[in-house]
């Protein structure tokens, strides 16, 4: 008799669980019906959200969740947290701070992955699969229905590295007060470093340039350029586009390369120059 009672209690629990998971599935279904027609456009490629359903379920849902809200079952174990697609805010963009990224930005992020996070490079996908997934990511937020991506920032062709440019970059590093967070030697130990938090109010560390070139949004010089000109939305890293001219931005890129642990052209020039770390107390030239 007692065993039977326990058994029926468990059945009760099972029913509740089943019903609640059903309703969860329903809200996903509603959302899917609503914006599933959305497309992505990368060059000549057109991605269709509906085609990415299986890939998303297979590869993305564990972290980003059924509803795209970053609440997948692995999310509790991860830091940084998986992106919540329902708010349509992204770190790696070619567009100004506070705007939506381009389809191409999302397309590149999927292939590149995000260093220093649990997002691996998904370079096993075909371009079509990735384009479809970009559309699928966009179907989670109404923002993609009402707003257009920002206009990508201007990136002039990369100039020749010169000693003058590296020196000018160092002046910018001091003047823009990059060192307040990243430290005078770029070790991520500036006076404000310990107090930084992200949008979820979780502690976040500024990048240590002596760690290597595992920048959040790509390793190339152009990626580095984009990171500080557009800012990493959702983190303390602001956009410097209003106060750094496009050509000057290259100077800063070259200077940042002198801080790297590996051999770089810039580091060699800095060595020949006998470049010392900045003195934050010295007046700006």
């Amino acid at each position: 008799m007692r065993a039977r009672l326990i058994c029926s209690q468990w059945m009760c629990v099972a029913v509740v669980v089943a019903v609640s998971s059903l309703s969860g599935a329903q809200s996903t279904a509603n959302q899917e019906n609503q914006w599933m027609g959305i497309e992505s456009h990368i060059g000549n490629l057109t991605g269709h959200a509906a085609n990415a359903k299986d890939d998303y379920r297979r590869y993305c849902v564990g972290c980003h969740g059924d509803l795209g809200d970053g609440q997948g079952e692995n999310a509790v174990w991860l830091d940084p947290k998986p992106r919540d697609f329902t708010i349509a805010q992204f770190k790696c963009r070619s567009t100004p701070t506070g705007t939506l990224p381009t389809d191409e930005d999302l397309f590149n992020t999927i292939a590149r992955g995000l260093d220093n996070s649990n997002m691996p490079p998904w370079n096993t996908f075909t371009k079509v699969q990735r384009a479809d997934l970009v559309a699928y990511i966009k179907h989670f937020s109404a923002k993609w229905q009402t707003e257009k991506p920002g206009t990508p920032i201007q990136i002039p062709p990369e100039p020749e590295v010169t000693a003058d440019r590296i020196k000018a970059g160092q002046v910018l590093f001091k003047k823009l007060e990059c060192w307040k967070c990243h430290g005078v030697e770029g070790r991520g130990n500036g006076p404000s470093a310990d107090t930084l938090t992200d949008d979820l109010n979780r502690p976040i560390k500024p990048f240590d340039f002596h760690d290597g070139d595992r920048f959040k949004c790509g390793k190339s010089n152009a990626d580095l350029y984009k990171i500080f000109m557009t800012g990493l939305d959702g983190t303390p890293m602001p956009s410097f586009a209003d106060n750094v001219k496009p050509d000057e931005a290259w100077d800063l890129v070259f200077y940042l390369r002198t801080l790297q642990p590996m051999k770089t052209k810039e580091k060699e020039i800095a060595r020949q120059l006998g470049l010392k770390p900045i003195d934050p107390n010295a007046p700006n030239p």
Partner: protein, 249 residues
């Protein structure tokens, strides 16, 4: 015959004059109607929580400014008599279409001065432009954080010392958007984006809203104590009163 003609024209002239006088008077009446207003004060009932002093020693250029007069947190700014400052007062219900869609032509300034936001709380209409200024000898990053998934986008811009002011606006209503500087973590403030006439209570806790006669719901918002509402009827030419009292926690 001629005399009669003259009489007719006189009558027409007289009626024209009367009509025009009437129009002028009617106009005045409309103007008087537009000049209705709500005035009031915001008070704190009880003792304000202790506002911690801010240690700016990590930013010597700002610490120097406040050397003789140390600054405190501004979560609750109340006078000895209980007047509550920095409370946003706005009309949450009862605005006509015109009043609700009007955008103030004022172009307020959000200043970063002495490593503080001045003002600490600012009220704006959607699409009302404002200027962000850095008056300090240090870089700031201005980082407003609207509600995620809401109508406004978060952004984060660096403004080094000497950089020119920039112009910006919010599109969606939101009470209120917290603003912070990540470089100087003690800096924080709020921007309230509301439709129609709005005010922020001053050091005496007083505010004025200019409104046409009508029935309104007026809301007061304070960053620690949340919102309070009350119904107010504004009559032509006679200021209505709406006082608010927040209870200290």
């Amino acid at each position: 015959m001629k005399f009669q003609h003259a009489r007719y024209s006189l009558a027409i002239l007289a009626s024209l004059v009367l009509v025009s006088i009437g129009t002028v008077m009617l106009d005045q009446k409309v103007n008087a109607a537009a000049e209705g207003k709500i005035t009031g004060t915001v008070k704190l009932d009880g003792t304000a929580p202790r506002q911690r002093p801010i240690d700016m020693s990590k930013e010597p250029s700002c610490a120097k400014i406040h050397e003789s007069n140390p600054v405190h947190m501004e979560n609750v700014v109340a006078s000895a008599s209980g007047a509550l400052q920095n409370v946003v007062v706005y009309v949450s219900e009862g605005l006509t279409g015109n009043e609700a869609s009007a955008v103030s032509s004022e172009n307020p300034t959000w200043d970063q001065k002495g490593c503080q936001y001045i003002p600490h709380v600012m009220a704006l209409n959607p699409n009302q432009h404002f200027k962000v200024v850095n008056s300090d000898q240090t870089s700031h990053n201005i980082h407003p954080m609207p509600k995620q998934g809401g109508p406004n986008h978060e952004w984060n811009k660096s403004q080094p010392t000497g950089a020119p002011p920039f112009d910006v606006f919010w599109t969606g209503e939101e009470v209120a958007i917290p603003v912070k500087c990540n470089i100087h973590p003690w800096m924080h403030g709020y921007m309230a984006v509301v439709k129609g006439p709005n005010a922020v209570s001053d050091a005496n806790g007083s505010f004025t809203l200019n409104l046409p006669p009508g029935s309104y719901t007026v809301t007061a918002w304070q960053e620690e104590y949340g919102t309070q509402t009350q119904k107010v009827t504004v009559a032509a030419g006679k200021p209505a009163t709406a006082d608010f009292t927040f209870k200290a926690k």
